[in-house]
Point group: D2
Chain length 338, copies 4
């Protein structure tokens, strides 16, 4: 931590800051420049992070030197984490994992139909929401436990890993019973009690980035889960909110390379929620594979006209199958498999 | 709802859309322009909102005519809602309500000291968090029930209304037992299960706007609470996330007038979280009163250097008292009282 | 400037950086912490700012200590700058200056009508564009020199200071001939050649903040003008671009207090372009006065239904006159005059 | 254009709007819904776009049906535009064009060295700025005409197409004399007089997207150039401004597919300015090729430690050469050549 002093800081103010730093068990290191005096503070930065040094008289600004996360960082673990999803699927290694399926589980027959089609096209994971976070109280809220049962049943039928969202700390046990991977939605990325609950399980967690969250905050949310003892976290970039309104969100494709630099955790791209328009999904999916993503999560629906949510961004199974062929070639071109 | 067709839409596609609209019990209304054909759809827009018309072949775009919220709208209720907070305090009327206190309840003595000072300066509501949403798992997470007990005790001692954040649907009952007003934090604005839980109580709810939420989404979140039967919702603007980094967030002061146009609910400004720097708080507080806000929620701490969270944005009690005098004059200048 | 080294930086890399710093005539100051080594660099930071230290092997990040602007800073000049606009009007002192008028000069009669009305209501400055930056090549582009002549004529008739936008370095002389204050529009805030040209005049410059510019960049653009020898710069906040779409832009009201902390230059608020809706203009204008702005620039049109640009955000003269009365009371409440 | 009326609109207000629409030579089409009455307006939308219908009493909102651009649209020209850059290079067809070189032309020897290296690696276009838009007046501003001469000379030596930025309408002729392609920088995307000047030439123009410009506005700026008679416009996405601060900007990779849907113009990605960090450039470049971009513009410097601008985001020639090999394989995988 570096404390930059105001040019008019008095000796008394400087002494008071130094005294505070020493009281915290840290070592201050004064350095007088031509225009500013700075105090470098040596010792664990966490202690200072919770001390509001900006409020001390004479302080102009405080510059942190270290990042606030630990367990998720590359520094903590230099090798890529490979996470076992069950049913012989692993994510974070050479093989790119494709997750596909409807936004919401609507009924068992439609789910079976879609599952068959995404399985045939090469998907390893079946997605489907039973609890749906909807911005309107009047929209379809999901089938709840019934939906989870369908997902579980169809996952078994086709030997597909299943992923489903959990929105409420009270439902973690329930969702964990039926689904192989727990999804934390973008709107819950900083639902800290929910993060703590999934941190108490050993289930793989797909942690979506919040609509307005920085990469640092996203990693901090992952840190919540790891610090609870669950290291099976998969990061998922799904678009951030910007002023651009042609797309529903703006896919931050640079998050792939950024996360790979900063962390050992696998990273997945959700092109469907990012674009909000199915016509853009193939281009974004290809970009994701080329950028180095470890996986994709794509909305596929056999009857998008009748989908109870997010029909506009769902691919038809035939479009998805065609895309998978293209992604296969691309994966090879970047030295990976699909 | 208006459906704009692509210039190359075929008759077959148009017929298919019209058929779908009719099947939903609505009346389509075809209108051929010089460059585009549009279909106006007459009937309850909600039915269409959940039907993904964008995916129908031949559709270029879909334009909603109505806003998606009802109960919170000015159209539903033209008069300003005045909400009873208890202890003779009301919000939404002529009197501007000031809420003040520490970010977090830290111990009973500091809380008492601060309560005394903000009461003396004219605040009607004492704020203090017992459950703290912190981006780092290693930061102070609040005292929990113990903090609520202190808040309750001090509220009684000084006859101050109390407001405290609830983060978890499981804690709604607990917080409601001790605090007069339930706060939903910015990060939980779209925690829909939490909204449903507070909608089941009759307690006043202070609903903070999410960091990247539009005013429309904010009103939709309020709609969740009202549709659950609890009409005692107070909206709180606390800054949105932008590219500007001098301030912690960007206070959207236009939200005051916007909310007043769109809704009957009272609106409060939180200058402390918006700015993130105590030095900007007086200017923003005055702007809020002049803009027409119904209240303010300001962080005040008697020892900001020792605050366990948000010290940098807390006012000293003396600065707060001085600000209250200025706000008093301003309130009169806009025909209100403080 | 502080250089934070990577934990795996080699001695050779450190030596190479230190050598580079010394070659630039600066003094490096090595400080080994528990987790990171940092190099504090003593001497003029400007030299380092243009040296890409981030690319040196072993460097994790570089933290600047000083702000990049000088002449515009409070540190350079602690007293508020008061700028003479001519016709006995000054901005930056106790009196708040209101600028009003149509978006564009359309014809001399309408301009005269509006000038009369805003003068009667208390405005000191008449605004009116002759060169209009329009996002569409098919929109009205302004009357050019003819418009400037009308503005000049009407300014003289009513003894009103005039302000008009200059968009092209080639037009600076022309606009300076007819208008009292040169306006640099938001889209030209970083049109550096234009800034240099107005920096070569002695005319007061109203420098609008760019739609996506930070306060720091805005001050840097002002620095361009001051460094050219023209210290008569008035900053104008007119809304920044965010995800919110109810308003045209988001007025950053905290910019008022921020600029007052960082700079000695006067700051003006443009509520019309910020909101894009006339109904929100009164609330934002009042907020601006209360926040401490030195002036307002408001669009007023006597026939908004026929305005050639920005009709939707223009106040009727009667609404403007009513607002001015309210602002008068507010100005007194904050110890100023209007 | 669709006019949505307020629920409380009076008959008189409706009549007034209809009269206005008819006076403009358009046909109004009234449609009464259950909750709102709307007026569809038939005829050229441009006429209405400049009429501020929002200000008419009784109007709730106005919904445009058509996009405001014409010449740049897919509707106007369904086939991809292929633009001749000279020296046998074309952009917009099957072959992906790579532009590379230093941010600024610094001296002839360094430029020659870099040109040799990027040519060997497979680049077809040499980039190099002679006029540099710098946010600080104290930073290196470019060599001006001298830099253009060097660029021209080296372009000839290596038979490389050259691209260089023009910042000032007065310099269009000068830059056009020396460079093959005129670049309009992000900060000048809405410098409309500059757009008009380059629209008067026949030179290919590389039009960078503004930091906070929507895709629609970007296309409107291109429309300025096309409407001036110059159809040789290449769009360049270089990152937009968001709250994320790990990267300098956020590359909007979805702009590639969006532009391909909306327009016939070629689109190029600038990963260097988007990321601001050379370490992310390879990932973003690969994403761009996979997403369907027609070209890339990449900063390469042989001595980034000594670069006078943007060193931190420049690739070393060896890294660039390695990347080009990877891009070659990727291009084939998506059915294109490099």
């Amino acid at each position: 931590m570096i404390i930059v002093l105001r040019p008019d800081a008095t000796q008394e103010q400087v002494d008071h800051i130094i005294e505070k730093v020493q009281k915290l068990g840290l070592t201050p290191h004064l350095s007088k420049g031509t225009e500013r005096t700075i105090i470098g503070v040596i010792g664990p930065e966490d202690i200072l992070r919770v001390t509001p040094l900006e409020v001390f008289a004479g302080v102009e600004k405080v510059l942190p030197v270290l990042s606030p996360y630990k367990l998720v960082s590359r520094e903590f673990k230099s090798q890529d984490s490979v996470i076992d999803l069950g049913r012989n699927a692993k994510i974070g290694g050479n093989k790119i994992v494709v997750m596909a399926g409807p936004c919401a589980v609507e009924n068992v027959d439609t789910l079976r139909e879609i599952a068959q089609q995404v399985k045939d096209a090469g998907a390893a994971v079946l997605r489907g929401g039973a609890f749906k976070p909807r911005s309107s109280p009047y929209s379809f809220q999901g089938l709840g436990e019934e939906g989870l049962k369908y997902l579980n049943k169809i996952g078994d039928e086709f030997n597909l890993v299943t992923v489903s969202e959990v929105m409420d700390p009270r439902d973690v046990g329930l969702v964990a019973e039926y689904a192989d991977v727990l999804q934390i939605g973008a709107r819950n990325m900083q639902n800290f009690n929910l993060l703590k609950e999934v941190g108490n399980t050993k289930k793989p967690v797909l942690l979506k980035r919040g609509l307005s969250s920085t990469i640092k905050e996203w990693l901090m949310s992952a840190e919540y889960i790891l610090s609870g003892g669950n290291f099976n976290v998969i990061l998922c970039e799904r678009g951030i909110r910007t002023f651009e309104d042609f797309t529903r969100n703006t896919l931050d494709i640079s998050a792939v390379a950024a996360v790979k630099q900063l962390s050992h955790l696998p990273v997945v791209i959700d092109p469907s929620h990012a674009a909000g328009k199915w016509g853009l999904v193939p281009s974004l999916s290809k970009a994701a594979v080329a950028a180095g993503a470890d996986g994709l999560i794509i909305e596929v629906h056999s009857h998008p006209e009748d989908a109870l949510s997010d029909g506009a961004q769902s691919l038809l199974p035939s479009t998805f199958a065609h895309l998978m062929k293209e992604l296969n070639i691309l994966a090879k071109a970047v030295g990976r498999t699909l």
